[in-house]
């Protein structure tokens, strides 16, 4: 017995016991191990698989989770008809989306407190509006969760001339699934939302999208 490796001594005791009838509750070949394997070895065999079995799916799930960007929330609205809205403009009067049928419409959600992204994109939007207004493109600014005073100051700062108005009850924002500012929607001539841009819209994105939509037959 002394010559045997340590891990076998247990098995020796176990089998001795059952031979003498001391282990009546030990069924032959019981447990998870194969056949009459000693129980300690059976647990080992099991444990060897239990750890990878628990860890590998978790790693796969984490790998999947870390690869997705929690901020990139796919909008279900892209490809669908843009929700109609009517907005009271800061410059007086009102504007509704229905009036703009047949035009390419860029709806930009912004706020004066949205620094720096809204401040970054404002000059580009104004330039885009000026460059394309004669080609059937309208830029509409929707100011959300803001005070009129701060909004007017923002518009003065960037000399914004495209139509802008507030969304005091948040109805337009929710209709467009807005979850932050700035967000910009590109609506084609038939009134369908074709692209949603989250974050400051660059002039390259603006021009590219507007040109693409202008090329489509109305």
């Amino acid at each position: 017995m002394a010559a045997r490796p340590v891990w076998e001594s247990h098995a020796e005791v176990g089998s001795d016991a059952s031979e003498r009838g001391l282990g009546p509750r030990n069924p032959p070949g019981g447990g998870i191990g194969r056949g009459a394997k000693p129980p300690s070895e059976g647990i080992w065999r099991w444990g060897k698989w239990a750890i990878p079995l628990a860890v590998v799916p978790l790693l796969i799930l984490l790998a999947y989770g870390f690869r997705t960007d929690p901020r990139a929330i796919p909008s279900p609205l892209v490809g669908r008809a843009a929700a109609p809205f009517s907005i009271t403009l800061f410059s007086g009067g009102s504007l509704s989306l229905d009036e703009l049928k047949g035009k390419v419409v860029v709806v930009n959600f912004w706020a004066s407190w949205c620094y720096p992204a809204c401040y970054e994109e404002a000059p580009g939007l104004e330039r885009g509006w000026r460059a394309y207004r004669d080609r059937g493109v309208v830029v509409v600014g929707v100011d959300i969760q803001d005070t009129e005073e701060a909004a007017r100051k923002f518009m003065r700062q960037f000399s914004l001339t495209f139509p802008n108005g507030p969304d005091p009850a948040g109805r337009i924002s929710v209709d467009y699934g807005v979850y932050g500012v700035p967000e910009t929607f590109f609506i084609d001539r038939s009134g369908r939302i074709r692209k949603k841009h989250v974050g400051a819209v660059t002039e390259a994105v603006f021009t590219g999208e507007v040109e693409r939509l202008l090329k489509e037959p109305s």
């Binding site: 016991a17 948040g170 924002s173 979850y179």
Partner: protein
Amino acid sequence: MRRAALLPILLLPLLAWAAPPAGSVNEDTVRQIAAELRCVVCQNLSVADSPSEMANQMRGIIRERLQAGDTPEQVVAYFVDKYGEWILLSPRPRGFNLLVWVLPFAGIGVGLVAVLLLARRWSRRAASEPVAEAIDAATRERIRREMAELEP
């Protein structure tokens, strides 16, 4: 007889919930719906719990839609329509989302079975271990001798 008469009375609140009178909106219903929706500008807060202006406006929209005669289900469906299922704090038990609902219970089940099996095995081994054999005759004799020395 009395039980039969009671039944309509018991059903009354259910009816009231199903078809609220136009014009008056139960604030509890607003809260219930808001609690299901994710506040879009917050990190992991419901529309009911968030103090943000956006959540406030969303609560206003919920109230408005209920006032217009929408059922709570229709109000939730409206938000899902605009934001996708992302807006729901509890993912619907469908498709990939099912994993979130099933996995914890499956984990508990597997854990229970494992504990049960291991516990049974350990108790079995403890029972079959010949404790008495651990001391050989020589040691037993020595103990007896030394005990006798201590108590003359």
